[in-house]
Symmetry: C2
């Protein structure tokens, strides 16, 4: 799994003369290995910290909670990966995940030959107690180098394996949209419509499925997004239904506006303009075009059509997160 991701990372780290690195960002770890534990009931209580990857000379050692080892089973065939687990919950011992994780990291790091030189570290995610393990274990003049966000640009170009995972998620959100189109009716609350959508998605998936993002009736204040609540959907109301699912660690993201009963002529005209804008905008997406150009031209299209311009981005990437580079916003990073 995810071998191409690791090859890109090898090339990047080699180009910066970094032979050892410790990844601690959830999204980095997921992208590098495909390791995607469930998220919808929060972080695993028995984990002693984030999942870690110790990188050395092109080899990736993933350190995860024992109860999540199944999520990393797909890596068993990959010669450039090793999976190490540490003890989480048992009924025989007090919970001590952080202690076990530290010990696991120490064992992995101390096995390595004493390669001198810099160690790349995801500083914004690595807990202090795990950084101390590096200091205590490596005695060859360690210099830690921050490598936070280094993988973000690498993540922009999707591999065929990632495209398959994304397509599976977009098929699931399509099921949700079909359910929304069928279920919407005056007299429902936003949450009632939402539960129909969520049930359809989970029944199609055959398992629990996280579901974002928005389900808001048009008359709600600040109605460009939000979680469904108890507001009633009335005849002719528009409802924004923005759906994301998370199968295999990848997020879809797909938004549509539905109407309860027949839309008005004004709503139809507006919807038609948005549809044209979307087609126009998709036509702008080509290699070499700056994201901000797509943003600006799409805003201009809406403005030229006589509507106020939206207080929202024009688009963004999807992948191991539901919202990532390239971001089509008013300004972009200039290097």
């Amino acid at each position: 799994m995810h071998q191409e991701q690791r090859q890109r990372t090898n090339a990047l780290l080699e180009s910066k003369a970094i032979k050892r690195a410790l990844f601690a960002n959830l999204n980095s770890v997921k992208w590098l290995t495909g390791f995607a534990p469930p998220i919808q009931t929060g972080p695993n209580l028995f984990a002693g910290g984030p999942p870690l990857i110790w990188y050395e000379d092109g080899h990736y050692t993933l350190i995860v909670l024992d109860g999540q080892a199944g999520e990393a089973a797909g890596l068993a065939q990959d010669p450039d990966c090793t999976v190490i687990t540490y003890l989480g919950y048992t009924i025989q011992q007090p919970v001590a995940g952080a202690t076990h994780l530290r010990a696991a990291l120490q064992e992995v790091v101390s096995k390595q030959p004493g390669t001198r030189g810099k160690i790349g570290v995801e500083m914004a995610d690595l807990p202090v107690s795990l950084a101390q393990v590096l200091q205590e274990t490596i005695h060859d003049g360690v210099e830690n180098v921050a490598i936070d966000q280094w993988l973000v640009p690498l993540r922009m170009i999707k591999t065929p394996e990632e495209l398959a995972k994304l397509r599976e998620n977009f098929a699931l959100t399509d099921v949700g949209h079909a359910a929304a189109r069928k279920a919407i009716q005056p007299g429902q609350r936003e949450i009632d419509l939402w539960t129909e959508i969520h049930s359809a998605v989970q029944q199609k998936a055959g398992r629990r499925m996280p579901l974002g993002n928005d389900c808001v009736v048009g008359y709600r204040p600040a109605n460009i997004g939000g979680w469904p609540g108890e507001l009633e959907i009335r005849a002719h109301d528009s409802v924004i239904v923005d759906l994301s699912t998370l199968a295999h660690g990848y997020w879809s993201d797909s938004c549509a506006t539905y109407y309860a009963g027949e839309p008005t002529a004004e709503q139809v005209a507006l919807h038609h303009t948005i549809e044209q804008a979307l087609e126009y905008s998709i036509g702008l997406v080509r290699p070499g075009v700056a994201a901000k150009t797509i943003d600006q031209k799409t805003r201009q299209f809406i403005s030229d059509a006589g509507y106020p311009v939206y207080p929202h981005h024009t688009g963004h990437g999807v992948g191991v997160t539901g919202h990532e580079e390239p971001r089509m916003i008013l300004f972009t990073i200039t290097k």
Copy 2:
């Protein structure tokens, strides 16, 4: 909100001569302040790190992402708390949450008078990049002291405010159980039963609601728990339905076994024994009784009734996590 929690913490830190501390554990922050952002679509993408609390001489400064400030609105009335926000997502700028969080922490810490002495730090949760802010900002001979897990024993005794939050969640799981009892039928898959339960809970709550834990048909291998899948529920099958919800940052946890159609005589007899064991076990819960005593006596009860003893804990606390001290397991922490 949560003033009694902070008073207990003040007393603990004062008893250890700690005048300054940095909390970075999600559960510590939630318990100290009631700050409970949504979890069911994963960590907020635009957060630059965990929510933080800077503690100094009994005052608590909560530092959170701007998009989550609403979740901390209840603290505005509390004189022992200040809420600081940092910039997350905008359509005008590249995403840089970690940078903004570091700056916010630096500003909070540098405002404090130069009190000498130890700084308590949740080392297993504080990222290295934020620990660096302490080092760079405080120049009075800082000694960091690990305070991980210090609040765990304080969390065992619930305040009236916490009990109200817990009861609201248990009422929601009761709605889920009523839906399970009504919906279960041969020919369903586990996931079909689950979606009925989840819809009932969310419709009652009037909003999205995380829902744990298990929905497993009796013939599934390793059937003591697990997430619902595509296995079919057949006539007479037992189904474990273990439900937790998360309203106001507190988790319920409530399990029952249902049968598809009429249970067999053997199933009725077993269920009756379990019911008696539960009553017996609840009767053992009194101040001063060791958790492991309750565990051992309950196992003995089951064994005396002629059944094999369960490969599971006997019980555990609930609160800001769905599984916390006191844990009724085979061994407990001895101090």
